[in-house]
């Protein structure tokens, strides 16, 4: 992976927009020695985070002089034969695009991005190992557990007890979360639920025993219709919620560490650039490399917390991750 200069990190922190990506691209990616492969960018839908990813991705590539390497298609519109002609790699943005691209059974490998680890693993399981190695991979949208726990540590420096509610989608993360917690000497208490109805009772059991709650993406636990109850409940117990998206912070979570389309685009650009020449073979899937953080200062203040400025928090988390390597 190319060096990631300090100036660019600052740049990234200030802005998650196109400028930041351009800055990163220009500073961190030295002139390419080998051309990146010709790619088809499959978007799950028009607009939104998908176009934001595509714009950032193309801007990053053009920053290193790799213009015209990308052709955009929509997952729903794509006619594989014509769209894929002449391309060497499919980059699928979002779960819908990844599933569509995998279904085409094309010769080109498929790299999923902006996809949850769980969704990728499900797809892999469904394909039953029929795909050749290196033909299906992903950059997950999920952050590694150590970052989540690192953020918990930064928000609650004195706290030793974190809680987490796992559901069917996230149960498999238990061991990784425990390992990360142990590394930071945090005592992690887990509740596992199987159905939506169990979430609030589990929360009621958990909250009195912990100093804060970590949110791990799960389709049963963290649903649109459960967010409200979870936020109100944690707040009533005066315990911060450390979440996995900017939206949660806007809604009332104390802090979150997450990926943005621009940061994912940078990671994908780095990956494709580092691919060895010749027939494309993808590395194994990996979690998000570059995190963004957000802190809801109003909620933090109301909980009697005074976290340092975002940049210091982010730096401290990165240090924790670096030290653990």
């Amino acid at each position: 992976m190319p060096p990631f200069t300090a100036s660019c990190r600052r740049c990234l922190r200030r802005s998650r927009g196109l400028l930041a990506v351009l800055c990163v691209a220009l500073l961190t990616l030295p002139a390419a020695q080998a051309a990146v492969p010709q790619m088809v960018l499959v978007l799950s839908e028009r607009g939104g985070v998908y176009e934001a990813f595509a714009d950032a991705f193309e801007a990053t590539l053009s920053g290193i002089g790799e213009n015209g390497r990308v052709r955009r298609v929509l997952a729903s519109e794509a006619a594989p034969e014509t769209a894929l002609a002449g391309s060497e790699l499919i980059v699928a943005v979002g779960v819908q695009a990844m599933r569509a691209a995998a279904g085409w059974q094309a010769a080109q490998p498929v790299l999923g991005t902006l996809v949850p680890q769980r969704a990728f693993e499900q797809l892999q399981a469904e394909s039953g190992g029929k795909r050749r190695p290196g033909s299906l991979s992903a950059i997950w949208i999920d952050q590694p557990p150590l970052r989540l726990l690192g953020l918990f540590r930064q928000i609650l420096p004195e706290a030793r007890r974190a809680g987490v509610i796992l559901g069917p989608d996230s149960a498999a993360r238990a061991a990784a979360l425990q390992r990360a917690a142990a590394r930071l000497s945090i005592e992690l208490t887990m509740e596992t639920v199987a159905t939506e109805a169990e979430v609030m009772p589990a929360l009621a059991r958990l909250l009195p025993k912990v100093d804060g709650l970590l949110a791990v993406p799960d389709g049963v636990v963290y649903r649109r219709d459960s967010v409200r109850g979870i936020l109100l409940s944690t707040y009533r117990h005066q315990k911060p919620l450390i979440a996995f998206s900017q939206s949660y912070v806007s809604a009332g979570a104390t802090a979150a560490v997450f990926s943005t389309p621009a940061l994912s685009a940078l990671q994908v650009a780095e990956l494709v650039r580092a691919l060895p020449p010749g027939r494309v073979s993808l590395p194994p899937p990996s979690p998000a490399a570059y995190p963004a953080i957000a802190i809801n200062r109003q909620v933090a203040r109301s909980l009697g917390l005074e976290p340092p400025v975002d940049a210091l928090v982010q730096k401290a988390i990165e240090r924790i991750v670096e030290e653990s390597k």
Binding site: P201, F244, A251
Partner: protein, 702 residues
């Protein structure tokens, strides 16, 4: 929860709450199990913890505040809402077998109370619930189950800029639980000395809507039923204070998108209340039918996490009906025998209603400032032949503008500057300003200084009372049919509003683990207090307007701005978690009232206990056992309308609760004993004797 069960009721509630907007939000669909997608990370979510919902940390609070949260409510073992306020330092709370209106509690900060304690603002979810008839709330008529309360914030001191009109001695702000937190069913049963209580709560929701419906039936047997000896060979009269209470409360919210939310609240409280007295032939034992209802609609737009606009409209209506026909007989008045008077010889009803509209905007103009501003319109109306000698509504309108600016010039300094400007039909325009400064002198130590002024507008009864009873002579026969009018009470149109000028200093020590110690001294100067006094109409005074409709030799009750007092109060509040499993709450107050004019017959000095304290100690023995001990004590008092000077009052309460599973369902059983040592102490008036009360409760979630 099964889909069918949720569907049936949500359709009903949806219709009630104007929530029938299927597919109103076409947001990105987030996943169910096995369906996790990027939408779970990127889909916009509605703001839940908006600036209006967030509590200020204690060190930023520009007032002395007591927060009673759900755990404290449970631990206190309170039977009804008003009992909770015994945990507030400086708050006078007493159960009163009021014979005239309905039996219930008297709640007043720093005393100065009569049976209709009227100098506080009482809010339930932002809706003001004091009745425009007398100015105080009728606690037993508020459709509110204890279990639906999220927390109670009691502001100890005037704060009209933030809480509106009537925030005079203090503010009780009751916040109910958000319906998103109360999905499912809960059945609560309680039975014992105070009566029986049955509550069923049902809650549910969809992605964009939540609702809660609470139904309560309570057979409240009041206080002891038999005559109680109180020394001197005397007994107090048997109490006639039973209440049958039927409550329905609905709260729902619908989110149209990530920014807009509509809340609908509806409540109904009906039933009967016993009232009357053996000793008063004109007010014998009888039952009143009471009916209180309200509806409130509130729209909130979240422009940003720290920027909210809300518009709220509500309507309250309280009705009391009584029929004394056949109960009131003839009365002897000297040589005369008089027939039952008009209007007591017919059915009586008293109606009080309120319409209120308020716009509020909360915003953060800069990183160091936060501004709350808004405007409100209100119309109160009352109708009562007994009190106003008319079948017409008496109306009272008021408009107000309010703003409060919170400014943090430096990390350790916080300034709050606010005012409410109020205009009404009868007393004109007045401003209630407030300035508060919080200064963090060291880590965990905050000093607070507040100066404020507030007004209390006279209520409609004080201004327009015209309680005229028309007797007619039965005997001697020679005078039969002769009218004998009796003016019981007469209001005064040009009463000025009461005024309070308050100065307060406080010292907050944060003790770690969420513990705090708050010390407060306040000096309040109250002017133009409205008093009722008796005026003897004699032959020489019959030309005066107050005697115009009366009979010589009788007393008419008049009202005037006569009182002026200074209240000096020291208060301590200590809340602390001890050894992880024990929670302590302690409050102490010393209140001294200086009567500046000695106008009230009994004097104001004794209208607040010189010392009072409360203690709530709760311990979690294991995950499934919890016990709590409450102790309350106050020195002698003599309240207006209570008429008697009462000696010290004490009460010890105990609650033991056990959580268990009934089949697979979480349940809790609790035993509560109030007044463990059966003190026989009296509160508010000599007739209100506290005796031991014991009951058990069972809660089941399903």
């Amino acid at each position: 929860m099964s889909g069918a069960r949720r569907g049936g009721l949500s359709a009903l509630v949806g219709a009630l709450a104007f929530m029938c907007a299927p597919g109103a939000l076409a947001g990105a669909s987030s996943g169910a199990f096995g369906n996790l997608s990027e939408a779970d990370f990127f889909a916009e979510l509605p703001v839940v913890l908006s600036a209006t919902r967030l509590r200020q940390p204690l060190s930023d609070t520009p007032a002395a505040i007591t927060v009673i949260d759900r755990q404290m409510i449970r631990d206190s073992g309170a039977w009804d809402v008003a009992d909770l306020f015994r945990l507030v330092p400086g708050m006078y709370v007493a159960y009163n077998v009021d014979r005239e209106v309905v039996p219930g509690h008297v709640v007043s900060y720093h005393g100065l109370a009569d049976p209709y304690a009227k100098r506080m603002q009482i809010l339930v979810d932002g809706r003001t619930v004091y009745t425009p008839l007398f100015g105080g709330p009728v606690w037993s008529n508020i459709p509110l189950a204890l279990d639906d309360i999220e927390r109670v914030e009691v502001v100890r001191g005037p704060n009209a800029a933030s809480y509106g009109a009537n925030s005079f001695l203090g503010v009780i702000n009751i916040i109910t639980r958000d319906p998103a937190e109360t999905h499912g069913n809960r059945l609560s049963l309680a039975s014992g000395t105070p009566g029986s209580d049955l509550v069923w709560r049902h809650g549910g929701g969809t992605e964009n809507s939540d609702y809660r419906l609470t139904l309560q039936w309570r057979d409240d047997r009041g206080y002891t039923r038999n005559p109680v000896p109180i020394g001197d060979g005397r007994s107090v009269y048997p109490r006639h204070d039973d209440k049958e209470i039927h409550n329905l409360a609905l709260r729902s919210s619908h989110r149209f998108n990530a920014r807009d939310e509509l809340q609908f609240h509806f409540g109904y409280s009906g039933g009967t209340r016993e009232a009357g007295s053996l000793a008063n032939p004109l007010l014998p034992f009888h039952e009143k039918d009471v009916r209180s209802q309200f509806a409130m609609l509130q729209w909130q737009r979240n422009l940003a996490p720290d920027n909210q606009l809300s518009l709220r409209f509500f309507h309250n209506r309280d009705t009391f009906r009584q029929d004394l026909r056949g109960l009131v007989g003839s009365t002897d008045f000297g040589p005369l025998t008089l027939a039952p008077p008009m209007p007591l010889n017919g059915p009586l009803s008293h109606v009080a209603e309120r319409y209120d509209l308020e716009l509020q905007h909360v915003l953060a103009p800069t990183a160091a400032t936060r501004l709350v501003w808004g405007a409100g319109l209100r119309q109160d109306g009352v109708r009562s032949r007994l009190y106003f000698n008319s079948s017409n509504f008496r109306r009272f309108r008021q408009e107000n503008l309010f703003a409060n600016l919170e400014w943090r010039p430096q990390a350790d300094w916080l300034l709050n500057l606010g005012t409410m400007v109020e205009h009404n039909d009868s007393t004109g325009t007045r401003a209630s300003p407030r300035l508060g400064v919080n200064f963090r002198v060291a880590d965990g130590h905050t000093l607070r200084a507040i100066v404020s002024r507030a007004f209390r507008n006279p209520v409609i009864f004080e201004q327009q009372a015209d309680s005229l009873w028309r007797f007619s002579v039965i005997a001697p026969a020679a005078a039969a049919g002769l009218p004998v009018p009796f003016q019981y009470a007469l209001g005064r149109e040009n009463l000025a509003p009461e005024r309070i000028d308050s100065r307060e200093i406080g010292w907050l020590v944060e003790l770690g683990s969420g513990g705090s110690l708050d010390l407060k001294f306040s000096r309040d100067h109250l002017r133009r207090l409205v008093e009722m006094y008796e005026f003897r109409c004699a032959a020489a005074t019959m030309a005066l307007p107050q005697c115009a409709a009366s009979t010589p030799g009788t007393d008419v009750r008049l009202l005037d701005n006569l009182g002026e007092v200074r209240i000096d109060a020291w208060e301590v509040q200590w809340q602390q978690r001890l050894w992880q499993r024990t929670q302590l709450h302690f409050g102490w107050a010393s209140t001294r009232i200086h009567d500046r004019k000695n106008s009230l017959r009994d004097g104001y000095e004794r209208m607040a206990p010189r010392h009072s304290w409360n203690l709530l100690l709760a311990h979690q023995f294991a995950d499934d056992w919890r016990a709590s001990l409450g102790a309350y004590w106050m020195k002698p008092v003599a309240m207006a309308g209570g008429s008697d000077a009462l000696p010290s009052w004490r009460r010890w309460d105990l609650r033991v609760a056990h959580n268990f599973r009934l089949g697979n369902l979480p349940a809790e059983v609790a035993v509560i004993v109030q007044n463990l040592h059966d003190s026989g102490d009296r509160e508010f008036s000599r007739d209100n004797v506290s005796s031991r009360r014991l009951w058990t409760s069972l809660k089941l979630d399903f």
